[in-house]
Amino acid sequence: MVVEIGHFALILALVVATAQMIVPMWGAQVRDARLMAVGDSAAVVQFALLIISFLALMHAFVTSDFSVLNVADNSHSEKPLIYRIAGVWGNHEGSMLLWVLILGLFGAAVALYGRHLPATLRANVLGVQASIAVAFLLFMLFTSNPFERVDPAPFEGRGLNPILQDPALAFHPPFLYAGYVGFSMAFSFAVAALIEGRIDAAWARWVRPWTLAAWMCLTLGIAMGSWWAYYELGWGGWWFWDPVENASFMPWLAGTALLHSALVMEKRDALKVWTILLAILTFSLSLMGTFLVRSGVLTSVHAFAVDPDRGIVILTIMMFFTGGGLALFAWRAGALRQGGLFAPISREGSLVLNNVLLSVACATVLVGTLYPLALEGITGEKISVGPPFFNMTFIPLMLPLLFAMPFGPLLAWKRGDARAVAQRLAFAGGLAVLVTIGVAALSGPGPWLAPLCAALGLFVLFGAITDLLSRARLGDVGRAEFLRRIISLPRSAYGTALAHAGIGIMVMGIVGTSAYQTEKIVALKPGERAEVAGYDLLFKGITPTKGPNYSEQIAEFEVTRNGSPVTTLLPSKRLYNAPPQPTTEAGIYPAWTGDLYVALGDEQPSGGVALRLYFHPFVRFIWIGAVIMFIGGMISLTDRRLRVGAPQRARSRPAAVPAE
């Protein structure tokens, strides 16, 4: 019964979304306020229906209702409750429902918090947003219905892939989707603006909070995925340049560029055409990610199960929205007036540089990801493009970006003084170089690029601090005045500084772990020892135990350093009951200077066990940096000037201006 309610709610959501797609846009054309207002209530109703539908599916998973095909295929009654809940989106159909739910959430948010938007813009935005929902709801109902029944119902489900049975499943997909589905807002605003043929600085102010919210979630979602892969896959890697990773990374790169170009548009009324284009492209890349992950055209360690028919439908949806968006852009962009002059050395100039580098970097990732597909389609030759390609193309583009990053926020709008800014950054740069030389001397030989990158990371971090200090006029004013100023800096300044500092910290983590990691593969018998990066590991033996739905072989290691005890590591191998599949649980000792990482391999014929020992210097900084970026985004979002739904100044203006 609950399942039928969920199914029915999903169909109703499609009906409501169809109304929301047509009525408000028509209302905007004929300037009928009542028709336009339909969009608001429809968006809220659509979201409510999607929640009902989603909860119904969750109910089926929690109660292990195996008469639902999706539950029977992907769940098991022995599974702990958290994985029955999170398992809802651990499969194609359920995750599609989450996708649409988040799409609905953003639509409802515009209806509820977008009261200050001009009525026609709001109506058009909601209409475009609903058209995306219609496409995906049709896709779900016709090709991937999560509520499909199976008769006779199997007695037991087939279980969830054990790799996914991890607490991270509860958080990683929702954040990731909130990120790249959130970019649909930027797309809807861009298309709405093109339909109206009017776009101004206010538009950028309305779009920025939504883009920022999506960007924050995507940042955190990607970082969580990276952390999850790091501890779960047992290879100790944190990023593989895998096509599916790239699928989420490309919208991030484009979205980051969009955040910055929207800033120029809001403050200086320039880069309008480019910003609109970026908004369309960012969401198109999100759609392409959805396509790549679900169509099976790519080889990946974590693609969804594949079904070419579904792939073709998603490809059609993607072509429709990307093609439609770009066609509308080509048709209407000429009508947008360009404004705002600026010198190359200026805040705008630095943001343009940011945009050029980010979008070119995004293009190289796109080429590397799609090239194998294209080549196979044309010549039939199968190739793989691996990390070396991306390291050779992506990193050289990031280095100038990192170098320019501290300069940007310090340059004045319109016309900046490069020399004055360089003087202010001299201390940060000098400090970065000194620290790097010190560390390089201590750590011994490594790749020559590593100290340079580490210096850039530090420069970005110190540069972000310099930005805050110089905004508060350190040195120009007295101490009390400085403190007063630094406290009362706008939150968006703190947000920028934190986000940039987060990048700097992340870069240091990346450099540390990529250039100075130690890896050792050994075979040990109980009572034997191994040494890695100054840690001494004593293998005490293996104990079998049982978990809720798996059996486990836990190895025990006593870790000491220079004779004093550090910790006990318990890496293990699990064998799940359903599906019967092994997983490796790494044993990790986290520390600021780096992680000691132990993963179990196979048992040896001679009685020992193969082991992979790693020391990953500073690897934590990668994820800490991402969290700091997220926090920076949050703080920025609470800034009065950006707050979603902040009263619009223009609306009160007519009252304030006396009749002449």
Binding site: N70, D73, N74, G90, N91, H92, E93, S95, L160, N161, I163, L164, L169, L233, G234, G296, T299, V301, H302, A303, A305, V306, L341, A343, P344, V352, L353, V356, L357, V360, A361, A363, T364, G368, Y371, E381, K382, I383, S384, V385, G386, P388, F389, M392, T393, L397, I521, V522, A523, K573, P579, Q581, T583, T584, A599, G601, D602, Q604, A610, R612
Partner: protein
């Protein structure tokens, strides 16, 4: 600077960065692309020793031999031809005889494939698409696993 000059600087720097990136991409493609071959390709195409490539197929039944320490030898087959592979390291959890596998490495002059990477998908029913496709092309019947449609990994 005039408006025109400013625009020139803007466009010029954009074009410059784009062309640098294109050069990098072309260079990187030449250096780092790895071809995928099946064991019969290895026999047919006479791949030179020392060329890095990916070898994919099924782990031949009864072929896995564990040697000294963490060195393992096994054979990869597409049922028509067979290549012996040597790998030192830790095999993925789902490495098993009769299952699909992708390995990356180089052929040694005596025809042994020395792999430094062994990939098996995180799903017991999974068959790497390249493997499934090339096996199908060669007329090998695949078990239900290869067609398994739902319930695979995220």
């Amino acid at each position: 600077m005039t408006r025109k000059q400013k625009r020139g600087v803007l466009i010029g720097s954009g074009v410059a960065i784009l062309s640098i990136a294109s050069l990098l991409v072309m260079f990187a493609f030449r250096e780092s692309i790895v071809f995928f071959h099946t064991p019969s390709d290895v026999a047919d195409k006479k791949i030179e020793a020392g060329t890095r490539f990916r070898l994919g197929g099924l782990v031949a039944d009864g072929s896995v031999k564990r040697g000294q320490g963490t060195t393992v030898e096994f054979a990869v087959t597409d049922t028509l031809a067979k290549v012996n592979v040597q790998y030192t390291g830790i095999l993925p959890d789902l490495f098993r005889e009769g299952q699909g596998v992708v390995t990356e490495g180089k052929l040694s002059p005596d025809g042994l494939f020395v792999a430094d990477t062994v990939l098996a998908k995180h799903d017991e029913n999974y068959m790497p698409p390249e493997v499934a496709k090339s096996l199908e092309e060669k007329g090998v019947k695949l078990g239900p696993g290869a067609q398994h449609k739902s319930g695979a990994g995220y």
